[in-house]
């Protein structure tokens, strides 16, 4: 049997950080006393009518622009009918066959659609089952009910759990940088569900998918998808078939439990919401949404790759978080033309990141004591061989701990590279004298043995000599003696 390929699409609910709810004037809140942010409209009293929150439309248009979606000139709201205490009207106002936005893209993943809807209230079922059936009491907190949501649905373009988690992070950063949502997975302002299937690699057909819910962190998202893929692969490889169902991921033991059985399958009886008029964004709203976009991670990654020659993963590391990106760009600018951005990038993602980890703090580059100008000066010194690579690392460690000017640290610690080749040659000669066994082995062809002699030189020079130069001089002197 051909190897099974993972096919993953994501459905993301983003709570918009508007001041008020989607269809009434109640304030949004998190963690407040239950049922204080309610009114006749969001409690669905008889006779009330929804009125669409204009700010929510503007935020949704910004998301649509960031995801390069086409915006429908006229979209409509539908009613999605279902009985459940989290839905006081017994229907959710959502968009159905004519969504606000469609056909977009973020990074390598196509966006199928993005639409506006309202969030449900929060329910707690008291009793052993934790479910509505058989509970001794059900409690409802309507504070969350009616919070504006944008639901984003991707095409099934993701091919692994890791890819899905990493793309979801990119989406979160993108939405965060728009300033339209808190995108906090623990608090539920960002919720990601997965549509997961497998198929023989190379096949164009889609397998039967399952819907995976309750992955309230990126780690759980990855683990949940991983677990479901493993389950499906095992099932299919054993000759079984995947049943279409919704699964609830339990992070404590990575188990998957069916959420809704087929018997309870809903017929939502969608029909156009007669209480609302069509959503027709004005030219001004569309223009404002486009013009308000900051440079977003995906565009920045692209620019770092194309204009600065960075590798994709390095570009992603630097471009995703705007503070890190700003730090990198400032450092590259300070380093000047003599230093390629690629070199600066490697220092930021490599040496600096390692030094910061070593230091034990969880500060990123931008929050560290290492000023962009300082790092730029340090990289330039190493690049111009004014100090050795290893001295560079030592200076960086000092910068991370104390901050300051690298040139001053080099002076203070006497780390300037030995540029007098006569001085270095005599140290090398002494090192060969001091390590006769190693010298003998190198002559006999054991190149690895050179390490002991190099180490001796480094020790003598306190790392101020360039490693490449040391190697060259040792080899030259041993060859000369052999000759």
């Amino acid at each position: 049997m051909a190897e099974l390929e993972a096919v993953i699409g994501l459905e993301i609910h983003v709570q918009l950080a508007t001041r008020t709810k989607m269809f009434c004037g109640c304030e949004l809140s998190f963690g407040d006393e239950p049922n204080v942010h309610t009114c006749p409209v969001c409690l669905a009293h008889p006779g009330v009518l929804p009125v669409t929150n204009e700010q929510a439309i503007r935020y949704a248009l910004q998301i649509a622009a960031a995801l390069e979606c086409e915006v429908a000139p006229r979209s409509i709201f539908h009613r999605k009918n279902y009985f459940y205490p989290d839905s006081p009207k017994a229907y959710q106002i959502s968009q159905y066959d004519v969504p606000l936005a469609s056909n977009g893209r973020l990074g390598d993943v196509r966006i199928h659609r993005a639409h506006l809807e309202e969030d449900a209230a929060k329910t707690i079922h008291v009793g052993d089952s934790g479910r509505i059936h058989g509970s001794s009491a059900s409690l409802v907190d309507f504070n969350r009910g009616g919070t504006p949501l944008v639901e984003i649905v991707t095409e099934p373009d993701l091919r692994s759990a890791a890819e899905a988690a990493s793309w979801a992070r990119l989406l979160r950063e993108t939405v965060r940088q728009l300033g339209v949502s808190d995108v906090n997975m623990e608090e539920g302002s960002l919720r990601v569900d997965g549509n997961i299937s497998v198929r023989p690699a190379g096949s164009e057909e889609l397998g039967t998918k399952t819907e995976l819910k309750n992955m309230n962190s990126f780690r759980f998202l990855e683990r949940g998808i991983e677990a479901e893929l493993a389950r499906q692969r095992e099932l299919v490889e054993a000759g079984g078939t995947v049943a279409q169902e919704t699964l609830h991921f339990n992070p404590s033991d990575a188990s998957l439990t069916p959420l809704r059985s087929k018997e309870e399958a809903h017929d939502y009886r969608y029909f156009p919401e007669p209480d609302l008029v069509s959503l027709v964004p004005t030219e001004e709203m569309l223009r404002e949404a486009r013009e308000s976009l900051p440079e977003l991670p995906a565009a920045r990654i692209e620019r770092y790759r194309k204009q600065m020659g960075l590798a994709e993963d390095t570009a992603a590391l630097l471009a995703t978080d705007p503070a890190t990106a700003a730090y990198f760009e400032q450092t590259a600018k300070e380093a000047g033309k003599g230093v390629e951005p690629r070199v600066v990038a490697n220092w930021v993602t490599g040496e600096l990141a390692a030094a910061l980890r070593q230091d034990g703090g969880d500060a990123g580059a931008a929050e560290s004591k290492v000023e962009p100008a300082a790092l730029a000066a340090l990289v330039a010194m190493v690049q111009e061989k004014k100090i050795s690579n290893s001295s560079g690392k030592a200076v960086l460690a000092t910068l991370v701990a104390e901050g300051g000017d690298p040139a001053a640290i080099v002076d203070r610690e006497g780390l300037a590279q030995i540029s007098d080749s006569g001085e270095l040659e005599s140290i090398v000669a002494a090192a060969i004298e001091a390590n006769p066994d190693a010298a003998e082995q190198v002559r006999a062809g054991n190149r690895k043995a050179i390490g002991a002699i190099v180490g001796f030189v480094m020790k003598q020079t306190k790392g101020r000599a360039d490693g490449g130069e040391i190697n060259r001089l040792i080899e030259a002197q041993l060859d000369a003696r052999a000759g």
């Binding site: 669905a44 009293h45 008889p46 006779g47 669409t52 058989g134 409802v140 009886r269 209480d275 609302l276």
Partner: protein, 481 residues
Amino acid sequence: MADMLELTAVEAHEAMAAGELDAGEYAEAWSKAAAGDDLNAYLWRNEDGDGGAIAVDRPSIAPIAVKDIFCTEGVPTTAGSRILDGYRPPYTATAVQRLIEAGAPILGKTNMDEFAMGSSNENSAYGPVLNPWDRTRVPGGSSGGSAAVVGGGLAPWAIGTDTGGSIRQPAALCGIVGLKPTYGAISRYGMIAFASSLDQCGPLTRDVRDAALLLAILQGADPCDSTSVGLRQAPQLPDREDLKGLRFAVPSDLTEHVFDAGVRQVFEATLEKIEALGGELGEVSLPHAEHGISAYYVIAPAEASSNLARYDGVRYGMRAGADGDLIQMYEKTRAEGFGAEVKRRIMLGTYALSSGYYDAYYGQAQKVRTKIAADFRTAFEEFDFVVTPTSPSVAFGLGEKTADPLAMYLNDFFTVPMSLAGIPAISIPAGLSEPEGGGPRLPVGFQIAAPAFAEQGLLDASYALEQAIGFDARPQGVRGG
């Protein structure tokens, strides 16, 4: 005192403005009249102070009766349903708020068919309303209480709601004027929804000028109702005396279905009056209008099935089965709280919206609706108005049609097409006719429909015709009748 009650609302308003009538005494007189309700028309009267009250700062206009479908803060609001027994809304409907701000004391809340579903008022959980002309007969519905209080001298005027004829048909059966304005003319905020795309608030009054004054108070865009736009201009009191230059169309596709000889006679006599006033008569084809009832009884129940899903016993109103789990509570509350007609329509509507049936029912009905609206637009290219009888018959007997829902639904045959098209239509009393099977003569209504937002022209023409008809009959015992 009796003289005061003779005044129309407009006359009273003018007398109050001229200092010839004391607003407080006038309101008091009507309050006393309302207390004499022997038609089961009021479900709650402000005067009783029974469960809250609705205060008006300075009475300056005629007191009014409000259909119990409008939410009134702190005051019982049932929509004629047991499921809202004991419910006191935390807010007041925009239409009622406008009345209060205009200085109209609220006399009380009037009985109605449950959730406005019915044409006879027999679907009220609080008992049927009796027709003031003949207490063995129905007042029509669903705004039967509002029509009966005006026709029966228990209120100078009233507001109701019309979804498929619920203002016009009871107005016709009670011998008063009923106006369904253009969809969107008056805010629906706080009006308990039956079928959201059709429901519209409107006046039930003694004459056309009162209807114009009440419409002027009620109309206007409301930020709480996205579908409200108001009228382009506030209506003026009509004073037109002729119908010269106006063209009236009789839709033969509809009027050929008038089987009641008495109704036909009054209708034809009224057409002659139109001509006598200089109006032109013509025939027009509304080829899809006769399918109005079929489309209406898909669309309205579909919307109702969704609108009424919120009555679950969780947050307000009646609750039954609280000793079981949540699902049992839902089921028991709804089983006990809703009446038979409401249940029938919820089931019809749920079915029509179900996956696999949507296109065949709801989708198809919407297409018919679009075609009916187009029929009217075409008719209005050539004509100013379309006229029909309001109802196929005069008031029928209590219990006469309750066993046959389809016969009951046909009461709306002439009124439903205008509702589907969203256009304004008025019913004015045009004469009396003996009911089939005999008995005292009963009022017959004449319906005039106009293009969307053409309320002023509609009121002007109706006024001229009303003057020519000179309908002055009244039920026995009402203002000397």
